[in-house]
Every structure is written in C-alpha cells, then in structure tokens.
C-alpha cells in the first residue's frame, strides 16, 4: 500500500515539543522537541525508542488527551485540539470498565459514536467486532473473567468498532506473554490488511515492528528527544511471522534496528549536532541486503550497520 507515493498525508506532526515547567529545585524539563514527521493514509507506523523519550506522551498528544507545549498535529487537514472519535486509542493496560461485560464495553463505544442507533443495531456492530477479534462466546463475561490476551482483544475490538480513521496503540501487547503476543500480532496484521487502517503504534519489540509496520520512527533518548531516523520497512507487504525471517532484507533491517537501539544510543548527541541533520527532515533509510544496494532504491543511501554514519 505504501508503494503508492501519491497517497494523501493523514497525520502531519509539525514542530511538536513537550516541556514540563520548572518545579521546585528541578529546572524545566523538555521531554522532546522539534518532532516533524507525517503518516500517510493507510500507513502502519511504529515508534521505537528507549524509555523516557516521551513516546507515550507523544501518543497522548496525537490522541488529544494531552497538550503539546508548542507545535501542532494536523489530522485530515485540521489541527488536533482534543480527543476525537476518529482517533481511537488502545491503551497499554486494556482500560476496560470492569463493571461492564465484553459486549457492554464495546457497546459503550458504539453508542458514543452512533447515539441514535437502536439496541439491535448496536448489538450487531458489537458482535461483528467481537467475531473479528475471535472472542465469540465471551460477550457476557466481565473483564475479571477474561485472560490478559482476551482483555486486550476486547480493547482492540472496542477501538475498531467505532470505525475510526486512525488507530493509536500504546504498546498494546507489552503486558502479554510471548505466545499471546504472537497470535495477537497476527490478528492485528490481518485486520489491518483487510481494513487498510491508518495505524500509529508504539512498541519496544523490534520483531513486532518489522512484522506490522510500513515505517518505523526511531527516537533518540530523552530529555530533548528527537526523531533520529525514519526507517522504511524493506520487506514485502505480504509477510508472515513464520517466513519473514527468510527474506534477504530481514537481517539488514533487523540489524539496523538493533544497532540503533543498542549501540548508537551513546552517540545521539553527536548525530544530532551534525550539521547535516535537520529535524524537519529526519533522514530516511531503507536497509536492504547487499545485492540490492544500487541506485534502484528510491531513498538515498541503503545503508547497513555503521558505515558512514558518523
């Protein structure tokens, strides 16, 4: 989907920064600043960075739950000033209302979106998405009766049931065990393949990012975190967890990301200080295998590992 370069920009982040005012002895703390990037319609973007670089804060600002200190987020041509039904959020802890059943939680969202619908219509919509996340049979159960994975599925179903334009996910699978994580990732992938949903997801998990995303945004460490780099996923769109590692671009991509997370973190300050770095246009890279490194790549410099990046 992202091969079509004429796609419209759905989310534009311009010069976003977040700072907390001075409190007591501590001076003012800038979490991040000069964040510029964009998300195309139907794109699946992942944000990766170390803890403390303000990923969740950034997501909250995108969702409209938090206010930026300066800069703007423009969605669909309009500036974001508050939360909206068109930007659905899946929270890190499922945030289900424990006194409502599965059906009740999803219905709460559906009723908020379409308050004039009849009971039957609401029920039908809820059922559709319960089936989508493969939770048939759990409609009448309260969250305390569901496992972690099931609860997160309800969260996803709730977010999708309002048919939002944008889906924002804040490390949705980090609290789950590896096996559940895997199966939920597969489900999310297949849902997004079908619905062509615009998704912005925060994650720690490199493999998850490689599996799901079209584009990975790498952030430096906080305070004063910035976008270090935008990495394009060089794997083909049709990929599965089971076979993607066989693709020749897998390891370049993966190595690049590990390199970023593990080794390059000490040198972020130098990188950002480099006169070639412009926060408005952070470098875009597309790690590919040696044999593909030629001018056919539409982005400058397919680079692997540490070559020429000092």
């Amino acid at each position: 989907m992202t091969d079509d370069k004429t796609q419209e920009v759905q989310i534009k982040i311009e010069g976003l920064s977040k700072a907390f005012p001075a409190q007591g002895d501590a001076g003012a703390m800038v979490v991040f600043d000069e964040i510029w990037c964009s998300v195309l319609k139907g794109e699946f973007v992942c944000l990766i960075g170390h803890s403390g670089c303000g990923k969740t804060t950034l997501l909250n600002i995108l969702a409209g739950l938090d206010q930026a200190t300066s800069g703007a987020v423009i969605v669909g041509g309009e500036e974001v000033t508050g939360p909206s039904l068109h930007r659905a959020v899946v929270f890190q802890s499922h945030a289900l209302m424990p006194w409502m059943t599965t059906m009740g939680n999803i219905a709460f969202a559906v009723k908020s979106r379409w308050p004039q619908w009849s009971k039957a219509e609401v029920q039908a919509q809820c059922q559709k998405f319960i089936d989508l996340v493969r939770l048939e049979g759990a409609e009448g159960k309260k969250p305390s009766q569901l496992s972690g994975g099931m609860k997160q599925r309800v969260g996803i179903a709730r977010a999708l049931s309002i048919e939002p334009r944008i889906l924002l996910l804040d490390e949705p699978f980090s609290a789950l065990d590896a096996l559940t994580r895997g199966s939920l990732q597969d489900e999310l992938l297949s849902i997004c393949n079908n619905t062509h949903q615009t998704v912005f997801m925060i994650t720690h998990d490199i493999d998850e990012a490689i599996l799901l995303s079209d584009k990975i945004i790498l952030m430096t460490n906080g305070p004063q975190a910035r976008i270090c780099e935008i990495v394009e996923n060089s794997l083909p769109r049709a990929r599965t967890r089971g076979d993607m590692h066989r693709h020749r671009n897998y390891y370049p991509l993966r190595n690049h990301l590990i390199e970023f997370l593990v080794n390059r973190s000490e040198g972020f300050d130098a990188e950002l200080a480099d006169p070639g770095y412009d926060p408005r246009r952070p470098p875009v890279v597309r790690p590919v295998a040696e044999e593909d490194r030629d001018g056919t790549a539409d982005k400058p410099v397919a680079v692997s590992a540490a070559a020429g990046r000092r």
Binding site: L65, S84, M97, S112, R113
Partner: protein, 279 residues
C-alpha cells in the same frame, strides 16, 4: 470445604455465647437473703435488691423479658406506652428519613467536590470543622431553632450521617482510574454521561461503603437523640425503662438495638455487593 468451615465457625460462636451467658448467670446469683432479720412490714416495703438480691439481672430474666416484648410487639396503650415493635418502627422511620436526606445531599455534593479541585479546597475547612461534632451537641441547637422534636431528630441524624457518605463519595470520585476517564474522553462522551456511566459505577463501591458506615452512625445517633427528646422510639424506650431503674428492660432494649443495627448493616452490605466489581 466452605460448608465445613461455616459450620465450625458456628459451633465456636455458640460455645463463646454459652461461656459468656454462664459467666453472667453465675455473677448475678443472689447473695444471702437478709430479710429474715427485718421487721416483716419493713421487708414488705422494700425491693428484692435491698434484701440481698443482685442488682444486675441474670440472663434468664433478660431472656424472659425479651420474649415478653417479642410476643406482643405492637400494643398501644397511649402516648407513653407502646409495644417494642412500634417503638422500633418509629426509630427506623426517623433513621431512614435522615439517612435518605443525607444521601440526597452527600452524593451529588461529593461528586462536585471530587471533580473540582477548587470546590474541594473551598469546602474542605467547613467539612473538617463540622465532621467531629457530636450529635448530642447538635440536639439542643436543633430543638431551639427547629422546635419540633421529630424534625430535630431527623436533622441531627442528617447532620451526623452525612459525613462518611460525603467523604467516601469524594474519595471514590476523585480516585476513579484515569484511563477510564481517558477512554470516555477519546469516545467524546459528554460530562454528564461520563459522570453517570463511568464515574458513578466506578465510585459506587466506595460510595456504598460510606453509606454503610453512615447508617451505622445514624442508628447510633437516633437512640441518643430519642433519649434526650422523648416521644416514641427505641431510645425513648430505653430512657423510660431507665427511669424505672429496670435494668432488665434496658438490657432487652440494648439487644433489640443491636439486632436492628445488624440488620441495617446487612442490608447495606448486600447492596454494596451488588455494585462491587473485580478489577
């Protein structure tokens, strides 16, 4: 197995009660009867306790008295003598009136304070000053201004049982999980619907705990208030029997008071269970 644990607990309870009753009985056995050395007419004019009987009645006497009350609970012999059922009924009615009034005021006010920091800080000093005032101190003021004794008792119950509900509602509302509110925000839910559909059910267990505490206090207060003011009611019943220095009846009354207090608490505990959710 649960049944076995409950059965064993019951047995222990019964044993404890038996021990207590036995000790009570032994301690109230009569001493030597001194009436033999008295002038017979004199002996006829004084009561049993002056002749050596224990001033404190034994458990059997009390049990008999309780049975007497229970077997004819609704008799009415005029404004100063009514059956224990009627007296309890009046008291319960007053308690419920004061309690309901307190609830109508406490819950919305608690919401307001819980959701608004300004209101919270502004009202806090008043709440802190009025909270610890004893009902017995309010009573004379109420009688003086409101004049009518029933209205005064209901007012005193109101002013004493409002605080636990208010504090608990405030706390419950203020500590609703941030993320549930965020969910409501992302779904563009209006303030009122958020308050009713999210905050209220979320805070309900805390609010009901407050109510449970409040009804206990209200029941305590009504007995004290009625002792001060008289009329019809279990507090008045206690005072009337106290006037007659009939300790037996006073103990019987204590038993009834405890019984009804327990019932009220059970009712609210049940209601509390209905709104509890597991997280």
């Amino acid at each position: 197995m649960r049944a076995s644990i409950r059965l064993r607990a019951l047995v222990v309870s019964v044993l404890l009660f038996g021990l207590f009753a036995g000790a009570w009985h032994l301690s109230t056995l009569s001493g030597a009867d001194t009436s033999a050395n008295m002038d017979p007419e004199y002996a006829a004019l004084i009561g049993a306790t002056a002749k050596g009987a224990s001033a404190m009645p034994g458990p059997l006497t009390v049990a008999a008295e309780i049975w007497k009350h229970v077997s004819n609970p609704f008799y009415d012999k005029g404004p100063n003598d009514k059956g224990v059922g009627i007296q309890l009924g009046y008291s319960i009615l007053r308690v419920l009136s004061g309690f309901l009034l307190a609830m109508i005021v406490a819950v919305p006010l608690g919401f307001l304070i819980g959701m608004s920091e300004i209101m919270s800080k502004a009202l806090d000093p008043f709440i802190q000053i009025m909270k610890p005032i004893s009902p017995l101190a309010w009573m004379p003021l109420a009688l003086y201004t409101l004049k009518d004794s029933t209205v005064s008792s209901v007012f005193v119950i109101f002013i004493c049982s409002i605080w636990p509900m208010l504090v608990n509602t405030t706390f419950g509302v203020a500590s609703v999980r941030r993320e549930w509110i965020d969910v409501a925000r992302t779904l563009e839910v209006g303030r009122l619907r958020t308050a009713l559909a999210v905050i209220l059910p979320a805070a309900a267990p805390t609010i009901l705990t407050g109510m449970r505490i409040s009804i206990g206090i209200a029941w305590l207060v009504i007995v004290a208030a009625e002792m001060l003011v008289g009329g019809t009611g279990i507090g008045y019943f206690v005072w009337n029997e106290w006037n007659n220095l009939s300790i037996t009846n006073v103990i019987a009354a204590i038993f009834f008071i405890g019984l009804i207090g327990m019932v009220l608490d059970l009712v609210l505990a049940y209601l509390g269970k209905l709104v509890t959710y597991a997280e």
